[in-house]
Subunit: 288 residues, 2 copies
């Protein structure tokens, strides 16, 4: 099956699972959570997790689906909070008004909180061996918390340094480590060896850096209609990005370099990992 | 040892552990987290967890201390977010300006997020058997998320019904279930039986309801100097509280009724649980 068809199939499974995990019970908190969770999204992180789980030999939906969906919960949490007026102050996301534009700031903050908390709870629902689940949760927290994604967001908002090293640091914390974790946790829950996990962690960071640089590029070249969020904002705000630092062409070149390094590791892992190669190629060529 | 001395000793252990888990690394995010985490607090939830762990026969600090401290992380997260202008809009907490008054809204939200995420990660650090840790995390999320504390905060902010049943519901979700969870998780990590855990869950809810009603009473009778937070606010805002609904005397009477029911269960559990009886008495007699 080609990658597009494969991704579509996985997306269907993920959407159905999300619907089971967060049905509409009529409560305004649930509605605020669902508004952002079910806005059209690529579901990249859960797809990464499922593909890595399958490549590592996993076969039980109940082991991986809760953790895969948790990645989408938590990704949505970061989007809702990042868009708040006191942070990036974005009015559009995933083709719709941002959560706080519809539900107000207080409820948007709480909807994000609940997605975060319930997301971690979903990981704990995985039927994989308890020691693997415990480890998944410890790592989840490490990647997302004060040393990870949250610190990346603080540095992005309040950081003062403007050099390539700092930019790499922010991209790494805000995006690449979370993408990497998505693959890593899939393989972990399938019982992958430490060696595979180590290689995968590195491949994921390379793929994630490529993904984020492509995101920077699309912010310059894409339209709001295509991307479903405010574009051109990085430049208008004089934000440090790869295109701003290196120009568009060289940025794409850097993204491709990262993708190449990721592919090399997947090749080392063997033919079971070929879908991850395809997905990595997709990441740095995508138009949205 | 009397209760005051016992609590002081436990508090020392907890403060030292918190200092180890969140040392000052000079980063502004860490400083915002530490500002609220190390503001003077009673550390009631960790103390509950440790006392229940010990009463249930637990003997390893590394099994309980990370989870106990996680309760304080997460409690602090709820305080920071609840105080935000878009929610309760409180300027004082624990005797100091609220987090957002010092660090700004964006950073306050992120400091809360990081305390929540790192708190759940701390639970995953417990050296108790992995299946118990997995269950602790699943329950932690259930108590705090969209069906628990977070929903309680939404209903408190946006709820329209003003009747005793609704008030009980908010107090239960916002406070009592979390207090109850604090005891429950301590006993769980010590390997307590299902029977003990079931009884303890109920006792904890009664103790927690007593605690919250006493809180409502202190909001009327206490001063900001004593409590370290804005007082008289419930009444000024026409908020539904026990004193508003029943008057001070009858409210204290209701709190004592809850405490009595908690004590009865602790007595049923046996003499090992006598410290929890003392602590419950303290909760409904305290002046701050």
């Amino acid at each position: 099956m080609d990658l597009v068809g494969l991704m579509e199939g996985k997306r269907g499974v993920i959407e159905a699972a999300l619907e089971r995990y967060l049905p509409d019970d009529g409560h305004v908190l649930t509605q605020a959570m669902r508004y952002s969770l079910f806005a059209p999204g690529k579901r990249l992180r859960p797809i990464f997790a499922i593909l890595a789980y399958e490549a590592a030999g996993g076969k039980e939906a109940d082991e991986i689906l809760p953790a895969a969906c948790a990645l989408e919960y938590v990704h949505t949490f970061t989007l809702i909070h990042d868009d708040l007026p006191s942070m990036d102050d974005d009015d559009f996301r995933r083709g719709k008004p941002s959560n706080h534009k519809v539900f107000g700031e207080g409820l948007a903050i709480l909807a994000g909180d609940a997605l975060m908390i319930d997301g971690l709870g979903l990981v704990a629902q995985s039927t994989a061996p308890a020691e693997l689940v415990r480890r998944a949760l410890a790592e989840f927290s490490r990647i997302l918390g004060a040393g990870g994604v949250t610190r990346g967001q603080v540095d992005d908002l309040y950081g003062v340094e403007v050099d390539p090293k700092f930019l790499r640091h922010v991209h790494l914390r805000k995006t690449a480590l979370f993408i990497s974790f998505s693959m890593w946790v899939g393989a972990l829950l399938a019982g992958a060896s430490e060696e595979v996990l180590g290689l995968l962690g590195r491949a994921g960071v390379f793929a994630g850096m490529g993904f984020q640089i492509r995101d920077d590029i699309l912010d310059v070249t894409g339209s709001r209609e295509e991307l479903g969020k405010t574009t051109g904002k990085d430049e208008a705000e004089g934000k440090l990005t790869y295109p701003a630092l290196y120009g568009l062409q060289r940025s794409q070149h850097i993204a491709e370099g990262y993708a190449r390094r990721a592919r090399r590791i997947f090749a080392e892992l063997g033919s079971a990992w070929s879908r991850l190669v395809d997905l990595t190629d997709y990441l740095i060529d995508r138009r949205r």
